[in-house]
Symmetry: C2
Subunit: 149 residues, 2 copies
């Protein structure tokens, strides 16, 4: 998660919403990603999707069996769907995103569980640098609000 957080800080440096993700296979990081929506003019360029696409390219397979995803924030609807489609084994995220509420609202819904296949979202407070993952975003938006004021 520390590595995902490092990615998030790269996003902050480029003035994108600071979210980072890494994809792990056999205990090794095979791909990294941070939010690049504005830089790439790409609404799908969330950290998780950027990392996912890199990992699939690397493995030359659109199915990422036996891979784990670490993301600083609870994935949104699009990212959760993408991670499920890619057959990611488990997603570990740092902090919950109350606005998206994907974990609570979507993935626990009975019928959607089928869709999510082997997808399990885990967000444990202390273990996954939860506070750091949340704070980097909070501080980012706080600064933007201050600049606007």
């Amino acid at each position: 998660m520390f590595q995902a957080l490092k990615e998030a800080s790269k996003a902050r440096e480029s003035r994108e919403v600071p979210i980072g993700a890494v994809i792990v296979k056999d205990n090794k990081i095979i791909a990294r990603g941070f939010n690049k929506c504005i830089a790439l003019s790409d609404p799908t360029a969330h950290a998780e999707i950027v990392a996912l696409r890199k990992a699939a390219k690397k493995l030359k397979n659109y199915r990422l069996n036996d891979c784990y995803a670490y993301a600083t924030i609870e994935p949104c609807l699009m990212c959760a769907g993408a991670l499920a489609k890619a057959r990611i084994k488990k997603i570990i995220f740092g902090a919950f995103d109350k606005k998206a509420d994907c974990y609570k609202n979507i993935l626990k819904t009975g019928d959607i569980k089928k869709l999510s296949r082997r997808l399990v979202i885990v967000g444990k407070k202390e273990k996954h640098l939860s506070a750091e993952c949340a704070n980097i975003i909070k501080d980012f938006f706080k600064k933007i609000r201050q600049q606007k004021a």
Copy 2:
């Protein structure tokens, strides 16, 4: 929708699941896409996402305000999320996807409605070549099953 269906047949020619999509702005098609997951080793390369990324690149904006998306099949969790994030005004799809059931299960859920913002999914039978959109996929999988048997 006829144009989206044309895209779907391109996917079929490349032996990908035959789904197609187009993005429309000011009554003009600004981007087209068909399923390229296998060809690109990219789990996110669904028709809708391919078209969405092209459209955003063209408009040099990750927000596709005042754009409409036409897809041959009901979008999956990932695509629905992506279209919502991109602020697509309306999605018109040809045939329902009973397996994904995104429309019924996700977008009608109260809390998720907020997420979907101005996203409205419409699938009207006769008007949107529904049978053709469904049949191209059915025939594709039927052939695959026959080849395996």
